[in-house]
């Protein structure tokens, strides 16, 4: 009864526009006061600090810092130009380039809005030039950005790994495969909708030639993926080294980074990290009470009562995370739902990496699903286009996305074969 009241209150706070960290911490404080008055108050703050003080999580500020340095510097621009050059000669080439650039940018950044912001302005005019319909172009940009969330380094996968104790290296390997599957599915859609070959302008030939400097940009994925899978680095170590690499390349090779700018980027990265870590702090206090109040056990009991197997459970997970992903940011969605759902997934024998990928892909899909998908709003403000146009344009991608989601959900092997191959069972 009390739990139900607290859940309703939290939903009300969320809808009324309370900051997300209050939406998470107020229920935690109330559950503590109402249900566990005898428990020392100190436990709340202890859980909060404990929720941040973990070397796995340290990867988050480092990856944010690296992405900030590169997204606003030369490395990302070079990666994008290279991808554009790669597909220049194909019909509808710019469509594939947009997807390729999102994959490339995803390899240095774990954030979808950052990807829309970095790519949108660059590729949108060129898509128009090549004769892609306006709506389709907008939908493509908004949807492609989502790939960046799955390609390592992915902040969503780091948070999932920390919440559940799943290996980040394995999640990253699976995220790479599933990100590429999604990219491939989007590319099929581009192939269907690509404008006539005759409409291909010759102008595209003039720009975006291959430069040797692009090789410096490729150093990033090499450090992150090579470092982790050769066993040299933990993900956190790879993240820290990638920042040092980004600073050196931007400052010494591209000569594009002053001390003042470096400090500004560091400040902004600290603030972006704080926004996530405050959620992690209050989220782990909440997760503690969710566990103490035996919510997962109740859900397991319910699943047993309705005789649900893994398939039914995953359908419920799909619906729950998809809808949640439409409304709230991925970090909070994970913090609220994973502590409840993961023990259930375990009791049903679902592979943790597979479950993590299903959950992340759901959240990604939710982010582009109209009318509320948050990514569409970011794309609207970056590209200065009406949200309604983007919502219309993104619809075919949402359908493709849901098809991929079902495939990934019911064929666990797609998520698990690559981590198993790289790191053994």
């Amino acid at each position: 009864m009390t739990v139900l009241f607290v859940v309703c209150l939290a939903l009300a706070l969320l809808a009324l526009g309370f900051p997300m960290f209050l939406v998470l911490v107020i229920p935690a404080l109330l559950i503590k006061m109402l249900l566990y008055p005898a428990m020392p108050d100190l436990v709340i703050v202890q859980k909060m600090v404990g929720g941040m003080n973990h070397s796995v999580l340290l990867a988050i500020p480092f990856f944010i810092f690296a992405a900030e340095l590169m997204g606003r510097g030369s490395i990302a621009r070079h990666l994008t130009t290279m991808m554009a050059a790669l597909f220049r000669r194909t019909a509808g080439g710019m469509g594939y380039s947009t997807i390729g650039a999102a994959v490339g940018f995803g390899a240095v950044s774990g954030s979808a809005p950052a990807t829309v912001a970095a790519l949108g302005g660059l590729v949108y005019p060129r898509l128009q030039e090549e004769g892609f319909a306006r709506r389709f172009s907008l939908g493509l940009i908004s949807a492609s950005a989502e790939i960046a969330l799955l390609i390592p380094p992915s902040l969503v996968l780091i948070i999932f790994g920390w919440l559940t104790g799943t290996s980040i290296a394995r999640l990253f390997a699976a995220g790479l495969v599933v990100g590429l599957v999604l990219a491939f599915a989007f590319a099929l859609l581009v192939a269907l909708r690509a404008p006539d070959k005759s409409a291909r302008p010759a102008a595209a030939e003039a720009e975006g030639g291959f430069e040797m400097s692009v090789l410096w940009a490729l150093g990033m994925p090499v450090i992150i993926l090579g470092g982790i899978y050769s066993g040299h680095f933990t993900p956190t170590e790879a993240a820290a080294v990638s920042v040092i690499y980004a600073i050196l390349v931007e400052a010494l090779v591209f000569r594009n980074l002053s001390a003042a700018r470096l400090l500004k980027v560091a400040e902004n990265s600290a603030i972006s990290s704080a926004v996530i870590f405050i959620l992690l702090a209050v989220g782990s206090a909440l997760a503690f009470f969710i566990t103490v109040a035996q919510v997962p056990a109740a859900v397991i009991g319910f699943m047993e009562a309705i005789n649900a197997g893994p398939i039914t459970f995953l359908i419920i997970v799909n619906l729950l995370f998809l809808v949640t992903g439409m409304f709230i940011d991925p970090g909070s969605a994970l913090l609220i739902l994973v502590p409840t759902m993961f023990p259930v997934a375990q009791s049903l024998g679902i592979d943790p990496v597979h479950f993590g990928i299903v959950v992340s892909l759901n959240i990604c899909t939710g982010m582009i699903t109209p009318p509320f998908g948050l990514d569409n709003f970011v794309a609207a403000s970056t590209l200065k286009q009406p949200v309604a146009e983007i919502s219309m344009g993104v619809l075919p991608f949402v359908l493709v996305n849901i098809a991929v989601l079902l495939l990934i959900t019911y064929v666990p092997g797609i998520s698990t074969f690559f981590p198993d191959l790289l790191m053994g069972k």
């Binding site: 709340i44 340290l58 480092f62 500004k264 603030i271 991925p330």
Partner: protein, 170 residues
């Protein structure tokens, strides 16, 4: 107001410097260790320092994020409310936020003094473990201040982050 501006710029710069120091220390630690493995034991303090720095960075930056309006919220309903209701709700949000932050600062203070009283020290550096919890007190107070600023002078600082508004996660 000028004093507040100075206060927040100082916090911003401090958080930036901590971020930079944390990254460079951790990164160099990794690089040195893989080049000269025998130095690894000499560098054990880095991991510990960085974990303290992280908590301090977060609580310093969280207050800045609040006045720069960078924290996540869903304001679809709030934005569509008529003027008077919107104002009333904004007041309610900020007062609730301030009260919650002060409560957390108080809990943080209890925990900090409890840990300080126990004389617990960190394993490598031997500094008091209470330093890990002090930021919750300061952070709670600064967050409460931020909610009051957002109440009295909304948007006064929100231009600062705009110039280089980076990607929030996702």
């Amino acid at each position: 107001m000028a004093l507040l501006r100075l206060f927040y710029s100082a916090q911003r710069i401090a958080a930036g410097l901590l971020m930079l120091a944390m990254t460079v220390l951790y990164g160099l630690n990794v690089i040195i260790r893989s080049v000269v493995p025998s130095l690894a034991s000499e560098l054990a303090w880095i991991e510990e320092v960085v974990s303290f720095m992280l908590i301090w960075t977060i609580f310093l930056a969280a207050g800045v994020a609040l006045v720069e309006r960078r924290h996540v919220s869903i304001d679809m309903v709030l934005e569509r409310l008529p003027g008077a209701a919107q104002r009333a709700l904004t007041i309610a949000i900020n007062l609730t936020g301030a009260a919650t932050s002060l409560y957390i600062a108080w809990l943080g203070w209890n925990l900090t003094s409890f840990v300080a009283g126990s004389g617990q020290i960190s394993p490598v550096l031997g500094v008091p473990m209470s330093l890990l919890y002090t930021p919750t007190v300061l952070g709670g107070l600064v967050l409460a201040l931020g909610f009051f600023i957002n109440l009295a002078a909304p948007g006064a600082f929100s231009d600062e982050g705009r110039a280089g508004r980076p990607g929030e996660i996702e």
